[in-house]
Amino acid sequence: MAPILVARKVTKRFGGLVAVNELDFEIEEHAIASVIGPNGAGKTTFFNCITGFYVPEEGVIEFEGKEIQGLRPDKITTMGIARTYQNIRLFGKMSAIENVMVGMHPRLSLHWWDAVIHTPAFVRQERKVLRRAWELLDYIGLTDWANHQANSLPYGAQRRLEIARALASEPKLLLLDEPTAGMNPQETAEMIEFIRKLRDDWNLTILLIEHDMKVVMTISEKITVLDFGTKIAEGKPEEIQRNPRVIEAYLGRGAASGLSAAEAPAQAA
């Protein structure tokens, strides 16, 4: 299968700091892949380069064969990339259902005058928006919260709502930034199942950033490891678990040789 997203020699600097360094990356269509690495490794920066929050200084990012680096975030979303955030960033004072409706924004086309005079096209579109928003809330099991203010929802529900908002934009590629952060083992297990289901139900390609090794190892088909902005390893979960450079990056220099090499995968699992 063809890769849906390709990054070639992507470099992003902040002053003297190289946050992402000549990163080559590919993700196949319909895959679930993860980017991992210690804190400050440049994972979120890479996400921000893909979604247009940052413009990389060098390199090319191609989505479905089209270059997207340097495009405005809203353009990139319209092309079919949606994301969630490490620290949940819902539109807190809007209701849950309104958050989902905002997500549909790039798929709607009518203008303000349609809204003012309520043209038949507008009425039809709004009815569709409403129905689809309820369907999405149904899908993530949040219909009871539909008309509640988003920031009054429980934590887990907010995470799911963020995903529903992203789904509303009908993405082909979904970027999840630490989707299980702050969840207990039970919720984490549910989230893993949910991410798989998402991929199959919506025919998505999913790219995650994740800290929880258990999640990464269970769910990913491919893992890319970053350290100080550079890719240090890439491969299937089993390969990554055994890779000494990964263990070193996570546990510190010298750990790779000796006893800890056996310990690290154990901890990771």
């Binding site: 979303t77 539109f91 807190g92 997500g103 303000w112 809204a115 409403l130 539909a146």
Partner: protein
């Protein structure tokens, strides 16, 4: 000393400080000419209310309300008495030392007034302290009474007082037909006040009793969802409201020029408020130069229609769309350079823009076209056919139409793709952009609509007043509009109306207070932020009902 008595004493000292402050602002003396009930003047009321209020607050907060209620009125009496005693120091000291060099308002007349015009100082002081103690004590009785009685007495007393204060207003409206006999030339008659108090107390009591029997349950979201699906009741309520608005100037306000001019001013502020509410309330863009668009609207109509040397002889109806379009264009043009700015930076730049427009209008450079400081005069009133809207109560309908149109547009926009984009922008600009929202168009739409509404308001203003001068359009108008949005409830359409009534209408009606308007603005805003930061009529989430099955089928077909 018992800690409760200690805090009571503290409250008394605080009361004293407040009441001295009130006296030294000059309010007490300057309002003493306005009778409220019999010989009780507004000057008395403003400082006595402090005793009442502090006594009441002390009682509400008193830990003794449950176990030892008989001590609560005593607490109130102490608070009022101590406060009054401190106030009494003012005339006592003032008679020996001249305070006038420091406080302009510390005059012998004030001292005399505070001591109830008594010849003997000691007797005056005694009366003052007794008044404070009695008022504080009586106010402190209310919270220990049963709920219904408490609410009845509080409602009765405050409404009677309010009627006394607004006596002039009452006598100009249709209310006079009912309440006329209770009023003297100015203020209420003592007997009238007593009867009103009793009647109102009974009414409030009945209402409170009814409320207690049928407590208002906060509707669950599910119930709201059901209600949103059947909008019949809202339609009925809207119809009644519209009827009221239609008969307001002619029947209720008796075509009174003064009252209608106040209502019209409120109306113009409502239009502006609805516009700024789009910019600040919906889209979260803090705009402090809002008066600029009001000025552009006003000057456009003035210059196009004026019969004076500067005018061009167009009719109001020709000038109106031009005014709105020009204001809109100005809004968009100002929007372009500030697209990248947020929060305080945006506020400062827009502030500057507001000043630029005013200074341009005032400049010698544009004087040949815009009249400079002398302004533009002889602006004719709007005409519909042969019917000239020259009286305030006639102009009212023009303004009402303006409000209805802007309200309609604002609320339709709010519940659409654009409105949702504005709200998303307000909540989190970066995420909004990442959700596919084009920031440039979305922001410019908000600036454009806000400016257009303001231009409309300005256009009507010019025709209503008949002349425009640059100094009318100063910063204070922008601040007023922003304040009324905040007081009403940011982002809320009914809040704009409530805010305009409270911050524009009320001060106009209480003309005696006009000198202290800024003081009350400040107090109102601070109190607002402390007590009800979400505003008097906060924005409520729109409830989206779940679509019914047949709907789904219908739209699928």
């Amino acid at each position: 000393m018992n800690p409760i008595w200690r805090s009571t004493l503290k409250a008394g000292l605080l009361t004293g400080a407040i009441v001295i402050y009130v006296a030294l602002t000059g309010m007490v003396l300057s309002l003493s000419q306005r009778p409220v009930i019999g010989k009780l003047s507004l000057g008395h009321v403003v400082y006595m209310l402090v005793f009442v209020g502090m006594g009441y607050i002390t009682a509400v907060r008193s830990p003794w309300r449950q176990e030892r209620p008989w001590l609560v009125p005593l607490q109130g009496a102490v608070v009022g008495g101590v406060g009054a005693a401190i106030l009494a120091l003012l005339p006592l000291i003032g008679r020996k030392v001249d305070l006038g060099w420091m406080f302009v308002t510390a005059k012998p007349e004030l001292y005399k007034f505070l001591l109830f015009n008594q010849e003997q100082v000691a007797r005056g002081v005694l009366y003052l302290i007794l008044t404070g103690a009695v008022l504080g004590g009586v106010a402190a009785v209310l919270p220990i009474l049963p709920e219904v009685l408490h609410k009845a007495l509080l409602g009765g007393a405050s409404t009677t007082l309010l009627l006394g204060v607004l006596a002039e207003l009452v006598q100009r409206t249709v209310l006079k037909k009912v309440l006329g006999p209770f009023f003297a030339y100015k203020g209420l008659k003592p007997t009238g006040a007593a009867i009103l108090f009793v009647v109102l107390t009974v009414l409030f009591g009945l209402q409170a009793w009814w409320r207690q029997k049928h407590p208002k349950v906060t509707k669950s979201v599910a119930a709201q969802e059901a209600e949103a699906a059947s909008p019949l009741r809202t339609t009925l309520q809207l119809g009644a409201l519209l009827l009221f608005l239609l008969i307001l100037p002619v029947w209720i306000l008796n075509k009174d020029t003064y009252l209608n001019s106040v209502v019209n001013l409120v109306g113009l502020y409502i239009i502006m408020g609805l516009g700024l509410n789009i910019v600040v309330g919906f889209a979260g863009l803090l705009d402090l130069g809002y008066v600029a668009f009001f000025a552009i609207g006003a000057y456009t109509v003035a210059l196009m229609t004026s019969l004076g040397p500067l005018g061009h002889g167009y009719s109001f109806w020709q000038a109106l769309p031009v005014a709105i379009l020009l204001a809109l264009t100005a809004g968009v043009v100002l929007g372009i350079p500030v697209l990248r700015m947020r929060g305080d930076y945006l506020a400062i730049v827009t502030l500057g823009f507001g000043e630029i427009i005013r200074i341009l209008a005032n400049s010698d450079w544009l004087k040949p076209f815009m009249g400079g400081a002398l302004g533009v005069l002889d602006i004719p009133k709007p005409k519909i056919g042969n019917w000239v809207l020259k009286e305030e109560y006639q102009l009212y309908y023009l303004i009402l139409a303006g409000i209805l149109v802007t309200w309609f547009v604002a609320s339709r926009l709010y519940h659409s793709r654009v409105g949702r984009a504005w709200q998303a922008l307000r909540e989190d600009e970066d995420v909004a952009e990442a959700m596919g929202i084009h920031l440039v168009t979305t922001k410019l739409l908000a600036f454009g609509f806000g400016a257009a509404f303001s231009g409309l308001s300005g256009a009507i203003f010019a025709a209503k007043v008949g002349s425009v001068y640059p100094h009318t359009f100063n910063l204070i108008i922008s601040i007023n509009v922003l304040s009324l949005i905040i007081v009403g409830g940011i982002g809320s359409l009914p809040g704009v109306v409530v805010g305009a009534l409270a911050l524009v209408g009320l001060p106009e009606l209480l003309r005696e207070f006009s000198e202290y308007r800024m003081l009350f603005y400040g107090i109102a805003l601070i109190a607002m932020m402390l007590v009800k930061p979400e505003g008097f009529w906060p924005k409520r989430l729109k409830v989206y009902p779940r679509p019914q099955e047949e709907d789904a089928e219908a739209s699928a077909l």
